[in-house]
Symmetry: C2
Subunit: 334 residues, 2 copies
């Protein structure tokens, strides 16, 4: 492997000291124009490329990298986050280091370790585990941590989430306004924070509307499309079935649609799904939508802000949601 020219080589070629070359290549002021030009020429002709590894080491402290630890990069939602994060970081000359935890808390821990070894200046996390005590120590040592999509249990860090409660309430109101009373709620695993928010608000909204016994049509545990489908099939096999379904996330929505497609009269059931998805438009599915890319961008923004000013107050950003009516949610009760 061919050696790359170092700053020293460039300096020598330009007939200046190492420091002067450094000044020029970093765009620092106080260099004579002629000198500047000489250095620049030498650098380009030698094919010089600064070594960011060495630069970060010499500067001490943190590297110009930011880590993002997430459940599964292949997941539409997380990759939208990553995209927003990366874009914002780039504006600030930072680079993004991504790592997938597969939603496994143990793995989340080891990934955190690896990123810390790389001396990331900030860590953006979609917290999977419940115990982040290890991170606490790091925060004390000056590490910036930002939680995105859900809060980090027991940690007082900057956080970006969407308005889960408001979105849920809007969705339920949307259905109530069209005359539905027997509205089913189908949610993911109960230990998930987003589930809890949505579930709680569903029940509260129903109660506020004076609908008794909303729990009867309230289900959880639909972590996969298949599980959601089964749950919905079951709901419609029972007496006094729902006339509308609020699917608490996009996987549940798909499962619900599968179940309704095969059920007699399934076409008449109103459906509102939480989370937008690519073909919801084509399928005419009414959803509670929000901007995941923006969510990532805001998280990165917070990370940058805190790195710059560690003393600033901890911030909680709540992004809005909106109901996008596409047909499925506007059907009247049978």
């Amino acid at each position: 492997m061919i050696r790359r020219p170092t700053l020293a080589v460039v300096a020598e070629a330009a007939g200046v000291s190492l420091k002067t070359a450094s000044r020029v290549l970093n765009g620092e002021p106080n260099v004579a124009a002629a000198t500047r030009e000489r250095v620049q020429d030498a650098a380009t002709s030698l094919g010089f490329r600064r070594n960011a590894v060495a630069a970060d080491l010499a500067r001490g402290g943190f590297s110009r990298l930011v880590g993002f630890i997430t459940g599964d990069l292949a997941n539409q939602f997380y990759s939208a986050l990553a995209s927003g994060i990366e874009r914002e970081l780039r504006e600030h000359g930072l680079q993004l280091l991504t790592a997938s935890s597969d939603e496994d808390p143990a793995r989340e821990g080891s990934l955190t370790g690896e990123l810390l070894e790389r001396r990331v200046g900030a860590l953006i996390v979609t917290p999977a585990g419940a115990d982040h005590s290890a991170l606490q120590a790091e925060i004390a040592a000056g590490l910036t941590v930002v939680a995105v999509d859900r809060p980090a249990a027991g940690m007082d860090v900057d956080t970006v989430v969407i308005d889960n409660r408001g979105g849920t309430r809007a969705a339920v109101d949307h259905l109530l306004a069209r005359g539905h009373r027997r509205i089913a709620f189908v949610g993911d695993e109960p230990h998930l924070w987003t589930y809890q928010e949505r579930s709680t608000e569903f029940l509260a909204t129903m109660r506020d509307a004076g609908v008794p016994d909303a729990e009867r049509l309230h289900r959880s545990g639909a972590h996969s499309v298949a599980a959601a489908r089964d749950l919905v099939v079951e709901l419609f096999a029972a007496p006094d079935p729902p006339t509308a379904v609020l699917a608490a996330n996009n996987r549940v929505t798909v499962g619900t649609l599968q179940a309704l497609r095969d059920a007699p009269g399934g076409d008449d059931v109103a459906v509102v799904g939480f989370d937008d998805f690519e073909l919801a438009d084509l399928l005419g599915i009414t959803v509670v939508a929000y901007d995941a890319v923006e969510m990532g961008r805001r998280a990165a923004e917070l990370a940058v802000a805190r790195s710059a000013d560690p003393a600033r107050p901890v911030e909680l950003v709540v992004l809005p949601t909106r109901v996008v009516a596409r047909g499925s949610g506007e059907r009247p009760p049978r």
Copy 2:
């Protein structure tokens, strides 16, 4: 910001030399068990965390980072690639640095530069631009480059692609076998390599089947869902319309479905789409599918292999595709 303990501090606390501490913490052999334990204890009690930045610099050459430059991380397909890459890299103790080019060649260039400054050991690229001459010099300097999804024009590097031609032929044969002759092809921008492969093979397969004038129903330029929809509407407004459509990628497939939904008799038209997508199953769309995560994994594998042995012959990996019949592609011609 609190200072982190360095190796020297750990060594001192354990009463050994710096090098011995280094040996223990890197799991190198030839250390007495007692010493090992002493060092390990000191490290944990001090909360030591090795500095990968310093380690990489000391080792010289490349860092243990691999860069991935891609069109748009928010895109389902690219994020699947990223996911596969990241997983494979982790197996080898490497970390992934991602960057989105927005399919802009200029941006691709500057991102390349930034990653090179970080001294990435390899660069995995979905080449957007046509001119990679800058990269050529880097390859000569020992950089490993792997192209994924499409070849890098004019560069002789390891490459992972899918069998675009085989997939196209299989799709066309699938339709021909059901009696279709008036088969339309709707493709993306003609300058895209994948378009060219699919387009060419479509025409060749039609010719081989003895279908004259296949060009009549052959269209390109559908870079967005809307453009695809318009193109399909147009095809069906003309006399002697197709009885089947081969949509050359998933965006085109969606546009095609939108157009057919609104067209009289659109339900009878057979549709096969290139690229699988999340709800194809629910919608009953027959597609040419392949494994994007695996594609990423293979690319990372090649990157690792070449870094280990720069002299190995350049490899071209062609991943298989398969037709997944779900209904839309099995309709007979009217």
